[in-house]
């Protein structure tokens, strides 16, 4: 037992030394902890790791800033995209009084399961990737905020945009998670309102690999557009298998497939012309966008920040700004976040309504052109130089 003690003493003195070193840099600021929760293992880990890296970057940049009053420390937890694990880890951070705010959740079901815990312990959180409307609008919880838009916004724009382009018939594929089912619901709703016709709807499971049966049926129905509500891995499979079956329809996705790996895994030819819709202003257009990209490259993260990384960065930034303003106190930070109006962030202006939802006026439309996601208005397709399929 004594040996163990010595070891502990040794390691803790090492730790103290490390802290002392970093404290020297930070000129003896008080340390404030914030948490990141997201999926770091399993099928959704790509987006989760991207979000983690972006949050980490926000914390590092805040620590570099000599004007900041506090030194920040990030506590990272993996929720595995499973509600029961989500309850566990959120209980962990919420009951740790030294954690002041949390950048939480990519999977909507996990966020839903943990809402009451944030409320119970009064821990302010900003979700960086969940899209289910109920998280903010289901009940009014002061601690819950969301920087990204809900799936309602993006599908409203998507349906209107596509019908205006002149497309008339759709086939819808969606995964049966809350993400895909929600997208199907709202897109179908708005599309029918805008006069589009849905020829068939197919639910697929999130780990499905073969879509040839569904796609052959789609081929038989012969729609002008194939809409897919779901994430990159399945999006890639569906697009690739459409090609194999000789299905020539236009492919349209949701925010879940707007990642670089969508294009990398398909190759430029197959990805060409894919449409998607994303909440928030495009990174390239934002004053801080290039700065973010440069900093991300500078710190040498080995995985891309993915579609929701900038939102995680913005969420962390908002929490840090609030702490700087009112000090490390959960209640005060919650109140401060509620007062967020027209704050400039990486993803555009953020204004939280009384439910903590960011009312983003802007949905950006993207199309793949020569191996890159290009904003529709600036693309050859938008200017009429190239034509989408079936137009």
């Amino acid at each position: 037992m004594k040996k163990h003690h010595a070891k502990k003493l040794f390691s803790s003195s090492l730790l103290a030394l490390a802290i002392a070193c970093s404290a020297l840099n930070a000129q003896a600021k008080d340390t404030v902890k914030i948490a990141f929760v997201g999926p770091l293992t399993g099928g959704n880990s790509a987006v989760g790791i991207g979000g983690r890296n972006s949050t980490d970057l926000a914390v590092k940049l805040a620590n570099e800033n000599p004007k900041n009053k506090y030194h920040y420390e990030l506590v990272v937890l993996d929720d595995e995209c499973k509600p029961n694990i989500g309850v566990q880890v959120v209980t962990k951070i919420a009951s740790d009084k030294s954690i002041i705010g949390s950048v939480s959740h990519y999977c909507s079901a996990v966020a839903m399961s943990a809402l009451d815990i944030y409320k119970k312990f009064g821990l302010p959180m900003i979700t960086w990737g969940t899209v289910l409307p109920d998280i903010t609008y289901g009940q009014k919880i002061a601690e819950i905020h969301r920087v990204n838009g809900t799936m309602v916004n993006q599908n409203e724009v998507a349906a209107e945009f596509m019908t205006k382009l002149g497309y008339k018939t759709w086939a819808i594929l969606h995964d049966t998670t809350d993400y895909g089912k929600g997208h199907n619901k709202y897109f179908s709703e708005y599309l029918t309102k805008d006069g589009g016709k849905i020829l068939g709807t197919f639910g697929v499971t999130a780990d499905q690999q073969d879509f040839t049966a569904e796609l052959t049926k789609v081929k038989e129905l012969n729609p002008e557009v194939v809409y897919f509500g779901g994430l990159t891995p399945i999006g890639v499979r569906i697009r690739a298998q459409m090609e194999r079956l000789g299905l020539k329809a236009q492919f349209e996705g949701t925010s879940g497939i707007r990642s670089d790996s969508y294009i990398e895994s398909l190759g430029n030819d197959l990805a060409e012309g894919t449409l998607t819709f994303n909440e928030g202003a495009p990174l390239e257009k934002m004053p801080k966008g290039e700065e973010f990209k440069a900093a991300y490259a500078r710190y040498g993260y080995d995985q891309p920040y993915e579609a929701y990384g900038p939102f995680a960065f913005a969420a962390a930034d908002l929490i840090i700004q609030a702490i700087e303003k009112v000090g490390p106190n959960r209640k005060e930070v919650t109140d401060e976040l509620a007062r967020t109006r027209d704050v400039d962030t990486l993803v555009g202006r953020v204004t939280f309504d009384d439910h903590g939802q960011n009312i983003i006026p802007l949905i950006t439309k993207y199309v793949v052109q020569d191996g890159k996601w290009v904003i529709w208005e600036e693309s050859d397709y938008g200017t009429g130089k190239r034509k989408l399929k079936g137009l």
């Binding site: 993996d78 566990q88 399961s113």
Partner: protein, 379 residues
């Protein structure tokens, strides 16, 4: 005497494990545990311990209960360790149910998480739509799981071994798919469950007891402990009764059993239904503790987690599921600091444990027909 020492060491270790937070603490703890394990096996301490534990079964059980109560008192206001402790107890209860199926009668059930889920979903529906007393709802969760299990009875009875595994694997997969597609039960988002209430006492509220504040999870740990004790007593009673003897016989040799006039179907039906009942009740209580359930909690992978606990503990020994459940639930949680690498390390650790203890942590001993006899001839 050795028993007392071992119990104290175990208590200290579990206290340290539940409380360990940082990298150095967790790794230090691993080191200490490994050293203790190696020394204990070198000194042949484990063997004598096993023998003593069998002789003083009652003392061991009481010591376990007291140990958990002590842990509960130590962590009385730390929510997170208490939540973990509660989860361990409830998962262990579910494993006790599976133990009757796997360990005694020899039916494989790879749909444990599905029956766990049926219990939880029944609770969610009943607790939010009816005014039934919650204790009854818990029981209803178990009964529902047992009833749904009956649908599978015919294929389960007709098949054996791996073929039986397929029946339950198929059920586990389709159950999850069904929950996700079907919107009446909340769909993929899941359902909210109100917290458990007994005669007006809300377990979701923290308690102040003699000036000391207790976390509301302490209530659940206490309740889970009661449930777990009841399940343990029940499973042990089954094992010791003629029913248990008959079940063992069916497992070891069906033909011989039927020659002796034992109805194989009857034993299997009893084991399957009773097992699912326990799993369902545990699931119902778990749902009420976490207040939220979603299809993602009840996948085939989760069933495999339950089976892993059972196998790691040593099939057939109800005592084994406790350390195994603790290891399998708490280890990945304590590895959070290595973030995305944690399952890599976790898998490796389990593989090594199995290589060194191929039979599981606490394998089941040979049945003792005269447990009270002082001079058992086989000792």
């Amino acid at each position: 005497m050795p028993l007392g020492v071992a119990m104290l060491v175990l208590l200290a270790l579990s206290w340290a494990l539940l409380g360990a937070e940082t990298q150095t603490e967790v790794f230090g703890l691993f080191g200490v545990t490994a050293v203790i394990a190696v020394i204990a096996s070198r000194l042949k301490f484990t063997e004598s311990l096993g023998r003593v534990a069998v002789e003083h079964e009652r003392a061991v059980s009481i010591a376990c209960v007291v140990g958990i109560l002590i842990l509960m008192a130590l962590f009385h206001e730390d929510h997170f360790p208490l939540l973990l402790l509660g989860s361990v107890l409830l998962y262990a209860t579910a494993c006790l149910g599976l133990n009757i199926q796997f360990g005694y009668v020899g039916i494989v059930n790879f749909a444990g998480a599905s029956f766990f889920g049926i219990g939880a979903y029944t609770t969610a529906v009943l607790a939010s739509h009816t005014a039934m007393p919650h204790l009854l709802i818990l029981a209803a969760g178990g009964v529902m799981a047992a009833l749904v299990g009956c649908v599978l009875l015919l294929p389960v009875l007709r098949t054996r071994g791996h073929y039986g595994a397929l029946v339950t694997i198929a059920f586990a997969t389709l159950f999850r798919s069904f929950l996700e597609v079907n919107d009446t039960l909340g769909g993929p988002q899941g359902l909210k469950i109100p917290s458990l209430q007994f005669f007006g006492w809300d377990l979701g509220e923290g308690l102040i007891f003699g000036g000391v504040e207790f976390s509301f999870y302490a209530n659940y740990v206490f309740f889970a402990l009661l449930l777990c004790m009841a399940a343990y007593v029940c499973v042990r009673r089954v094992e010791r009764s003629w029913l248990g003897v008959a079940m063992d016989m069916v497992r070891t040799d069906e033909i011989a059993a039927s020659v002796f006039g034992i109805s194989i179907a009857r034993q299997k039906i009893i084991a399957f239904v009773l097992g699912n009942l326990l799993v369902g009740i545990a699931g119902a209580a778990y749902g009420m503790m976490t207040n939220y359930i979603a299809p993602n909690n009840f996948t085939f992978a989760d069933s495999l987690i339950l089976v892993s606990m059972l196998l790691l503990g040593g099939i057939g020994n109800p005592l084994g599921v406790f350390p195994a459940a603790a290891l399998i639930l708490i280890l990945p949680e304590k590895l959070q600091f290595i973030q995305e690498y944690r399952f890599l390390l976790y898998g490796t650790v389990i593989i090594f444990i199995l290589l060194f203890r191929a039979q599981g942590l606490l394998p089941r001993g040979i049945r003792r027909f005269f447990p009270c006899a002082e001079n058992d001839p086989r000792q």
